[in-house]
């Protein structure tokens, strides 16, 4: 089993983090560009998988970076910069989901229904932008369909379950990082993650090839 402690993280990563954070705290413009270049895909990816909507995900990911930049002076460097950014992203996602649910309720339109329709429509929507990635054409269509299906099934799960599957199995974070991001105890993370995985597996069963 892998073990993670902040002190175990390789020194070059910690050193790069420290330099970037120092530059951000000094308010250097190029540091902001570096921050975005280094973390944009992970932040956007987490937003996209939580919200299952490309436009909302981009908008929210931008808000995350603005928030990171505004609050960098409060970052105490007790965790990795990436873990802190994940925590901010996760909180923004939960707030945005709450807002979207309220908006959908006001319009009397279930949020999950909207997403399912977006994700399963014909031609198959491409919420993850998979179509623009270079791939072998035969694999591309199959992979894209599977990717959209997984995202659609994730969108139908509770936020508690969805976030743990995303953090552990999509982002491949350690349990310690997930605890830091969510504030959950280790046992809760493990048991809830297992239930979330089993739920996703049951939902995906009709779409997976036999092993």
């Amino acid at each position: 089993m892998e073990t993670y402690h902040p002190g175990n993280v390789s020194d070059p990563i910690r050193e790069a983090d420290r330099l970037l954070v120092s530059a951000l705290k000094r308010g250097e413009g190029p540091a902001f560009e570096s921050l975005v270049r280094l973390h944009q895909h992970r932040v956007y990816g987490l937003c996209l998988r939580m919200l299952a909507d490309r436009a909302e995900a981009e908008d929210l990911a931008q808000e995350v970076f603005i928030s990171v930049f505004k609050n960098i002076l409060t970052f105490r460097e007790e965790s990795l910069l990436s873990t802190w950014i994940y925590r901010i992203t996760r909180n923004h996602c939960l707030n945005r989901l709450k807002f979207l649910r309220r908006r959908a309720h006001e319009r009397q339109q279930p949020l999950e229904d909207t997403r399912q329709a977006d994700l399963a429509g014909e031609p198959l929507a491409d919420p993850v932008g998979a179509a623009s990635r270079p791939q072998r054409p035969d694999r591309a269509a199959e992979g894209r369909e599977l990717e959209c299906r997984i995202l659609a099934e994730l969108a139908g799960m509770s936020e508690d379950h969805r976030e743990l599957v995303i953090l552990r199995d999509f982002e491949q974070l350690s349990y310690e990082e997930i605890q830091e991001i969510t504030g959950l105890a280790e046992g809760t993370v493990k048991s809830r993650l297992h239930r979330a995985r089993m739920e996703l597996a049951r939902r995906m069963a009709p779409h997976l090839k036999d092993g």
Binding site: G27, F32, Q40, G129, I150, A201
Partner: protein, 220 residues
Amino acid sequence: MEHDIAQLHLSELLEGSLAPGARAELEAHLADCQECRASLDLLRRTLEAVRGLPPVEAPPQFAPRLRRRAVQAGLLAARRRRRLGLGTLPFSSTMALVVVLAAVGALLVLVLLMQRQIALLVEQAPPAVVQVPGVGALNTLAAAAWAAGGTVRSDGRLVPPGSALGGTSLELDLELPAAGWDAFRRAVAAGGGAGHLPAAQPPAGPDGRVHLLFSLRPGS
């Protein structure tokens, strides 16, 4: 190991994080339990599918849009001023310096104009922001973009479909699926805004989408 307990440890078995004793007990249970074997197989195939997905990439326009938003929020502009060391100067000195630099810049532009170099610069520049006469035109463009399956950002912020843009909206950033161009063009024409669009469909970006930028004409 009891069946219910075995079901709870399937994830740990796949992650290789079970203690040797518990692992042996679970494996013994699996040898006799068809249901647990099926659950384990389904879980394994699901995790393989999830972990085999390619990483998600942010759209190509993400960083430029974010930069624009950060500048609008005053984050980058304020920090730039400090980086240049201007923050240590009194405000009046800074303003004087800005005026002198602006005058020098204007003089340079004048020289360029006189030498007819400006024509070459215009030719080489990327497609300009299209200026429209009023908020009504921005609303027409936004409605057409939503009808064509596109997204709308006003001054960097995502606008929910169906919203009306207010008088403070100065800049509109439209993103359309390439296949939605004809529907977009027809909807804009129906709203009387055909003159704001380029004659031909602009090329799609690497994300397969068409990007258009509009702003309010000064004084409108």
